[in-house]
Amino acid sequence: MTYSPVAITGMGCICAAGNNLGDSMASLFSGTRAPVPPVSFTSNHPINYPVFEVHNFTVPADLLRTSALGLHAAREALDDAGLDRELLSTLRVGVCVGTTVGCAISNEMFCREYRSVSVPGMGPLERILRSNPAAVIAREFDFSGPCQTIVNACSSGTDAVGLAASWIRSGACDVALAGGADELGRITYIGFISLLITDESPCKPFDVNRKGLNLGEAGAMLVLESERVRTMRKKKARSFVLGYGSACDAYHLTAPKPDGAGLKNALAEAFACSNTDPAAIAFVNAHGTGTPDNDRVETMVLAEVLPGVPFLSTKGYTGHTLGAAGAIEAIFTAACLELGKIPANIGFSTPDPELGGNPVTENTPFSGTIALSESLAFGGNNSVIILGKGEV
């Protein structure tokens, strides 16, 4: 079936590149980044791995940082869309948020106390139970439409935007806030180090010397809006969700399938449902984590399906923000379509002859109106979203 385009009328994000979308885009195009060892926590691991933390951000005491990041981005997105509480109260509004740690019943302080103290404090667990990322946004604005928190590891953010677009098309809601949120903490930091896919230096997506990812944290939300409401309030679209596809490798818990079959299936679905000709794709915002495996499989598939199409990874600016990654990268993709240029793939200097292609190495203008963002995840999920240039 062919999908009708779904308008994006607002966007907001917070990440190490900037506490809002404007600042983040400025960092991307000025080629600046500053990953450093964690400031908000410590580790007794002998190596200090650089991370991309968000600074100058205050978290309410009763919320998880993850949910606070999502809420912060949601406020920016709603402001950007010009939707105030009064107008929102007259609409059926859905919320769809991707995350990885936002619903994990996991807290180190509680765990330590449980083993060593006869009456451990329940505060950390109670905070988790109050902080489901989608529910927090729905509660804050008293939304009563569909509400879903998606936990598909690193493709969650892309999946959230894809699902919310389906909600709008099917009439399940008038407006949907869709995106992702994930905080950086000790547990994820130690977990990714244990998998030996973390780079000791700033990450180098697609470079021959890439050693792995750097973790980051982010909140990123988009406002998707029905044509009915958009017509009623004469609101122009910043971008359009044209297509979405997802497919599972059904291969391994952590390793991507070497032949990229799942990613190819996801791309094929996204092209088919949006009726998009692959030749029309102006650029690809790749997953590009900087791990040897991911970048190999991804460039191999891109060389086959989208030969010659410029691509980049923005993870060199934000770190890998896990459940938020797909959402923040969709936002960067839409913002680049508005600007008609993409930033350099920071961290890349030496091509890897084993890869299917090289990313853009400088800020690059383009003339097309359609772009694609892709996410690959633990569990074998591959998700692809196709976005079109907006009206403003």
Binding site: N152, C248, D249, H252
Partner: protein, 364 residues
């Protein structure tokens, strides 16, 4: 679009598979046991509905399960049982199958183990296997790997709202034609961590009877398990259980909103006192049933209600609500073995933040 329920796979305190669930529905009894916790070395016991995943080796060789944790084992067993029940296990790779999993707490047991691994031996000794298994979509991943399911896969986690929310996604995928079938499953694991949090919040009373329709009484007992449904579009369905007419989720449900009075209303009330009064208001004057005392209280319990409702519609008659406690609000508790008048059953579940899920199944 109407969606058909083609197969049901359940594992819970009542046993494994539809036959054992049916037996428990007829007898009104389930297996409550005790779980042992160790907080700071002090033993603690709480009553609970535990599950046994030993039948999984009928479907998967033991070797292939070596690093799969209890949460994913529950999911795998539910998945295989649903496919077996629908008679499609022999088909081989399921390339047009979508997988949608709901879980309130995810793989909390292995998450706890991962934390232990570095708390005990230092950050450098954190176990990557535990970490990889602790991601919420691990059960979905193992299911896709074992079944060769290369369609879309998604896992939803929002406590007591997980089931109706995830079910909407399953429905959407079928109506958009993304897949031909969806394996919809709900999985919950009663890990030590969840068990401890439970008894801190609700105490350790072990002899109480679950009285879900006594609104002012705390009588909940925690449970764990998996409930899976194999779904397809109605027009492509073989003779299955029944059809999924609608799934409504949202917040602030009003009493008048619930379907016609001749429909049976299955309540997700499970003895947690804070939700009792809300169910009472919404179910006033309805014909109700409640089965939570067969499998216990857990965020995904609405999925068990769906499985039971599907079985009632398949057999065309009601099962008696398996508790002797009375209903202290004006509603009629349906007797067992009676014909389902309207051939329609609605399942209501309430969650935090005034959220609700209302799922309607029918025979026609």
């Amino acid at each position: 679009m109407q969606i058909a329920i083609q197969g049901v796979g359940v594992v819970g305190g009542f046993g494994t598979g539809v036959a054992e669930m049916r037996k428990a529905l007829l007898s009104g009894s389930s297996n409550r046991s005790i779980i042992q916790l160790s907080n700071c070395g002090d033993p603690l016991e709480i009553p609970a509905f535990r599950t046994d995943t030993s039948r999984l080796t009928e479907f998967v060789p033991l070797k292939a399960l070596r690093r799969i944790d209890n949460f994913s084992k529950l999911g795998l067993l539910g998945a295989y049982l649903a496919l077996e029940d629908a008679g499609v296990l022999a088909e081989g790779k399921q390339e047009r199958l979508g997988v949608v999993i709901a879980s309130g707490y995810g793989a909390s047991g292995i998450t706890f183990s991962f934390l232990d691994s570095f708390i005990n031996d230092g950050d450098i000794c954190a176990s990557p296997t535990y970490f990889a298994n602790s991601v919420h979509n691990s059960a979905a991943a193992y299911i896709s790997i074992m079944l060769g399911a290369t369609g879309p896969s998604s896992t939803v986690s929002q406590f007591h709202q997980s089931v109706p929310s995830a079910l909407q996604t399953a429905r959407l995928w079928l109506s958009e034609g993304r897949v031909d079938r969806v394996l919809f499953g709900a999985v919950e694991e009663l890990s030590e961590l969840i068990g401890y949090a439970w008894c801190r919040q609700r105490g350790t009373t072990d002899s109480r009877e679950i009285s879900p329709l006594l609104t002012g009484t705390e009588s909940a007992v925690p449970g764990e398990g998996a409930a899976f449904l194999l779904l397809s579009r109605k027009e492509e369905s073989q003779k299955g259980y029944c059809f999924l007419d609608q799934v409504i989720t949202g917040r602030h449900l009003k009493p008048g909103f619930i379907a016609s009075p001749q429909d049976l209303l299955v309540l997700g009330a499970d003895g947690r006192r804070e939700k009792g009064a809300d169910y009472a208001v919404l179910a006033e004057n309805a014909t109700v049933a409640c089965f939570t005392s067969l499998y216990g209280s857990m965020p995904i319990s609405p999925a068990f209600d769906l499985a039971i409702a599907a079985l009632m519609l398949k057999e065309g008659k009601t099962f008696a609500s398996p508790f002797s406690g009375i209903c202290d609000f004006p509603a009629t508790v349906a007797a067992g073995g009676k014909a389902l008048e309207s051939q329609r059953v609605s399942c209501l579940s309430l969650s935090d933040d005034d959220g609700f899920g209302l799922v309607t199944l029918s025979k026609g």
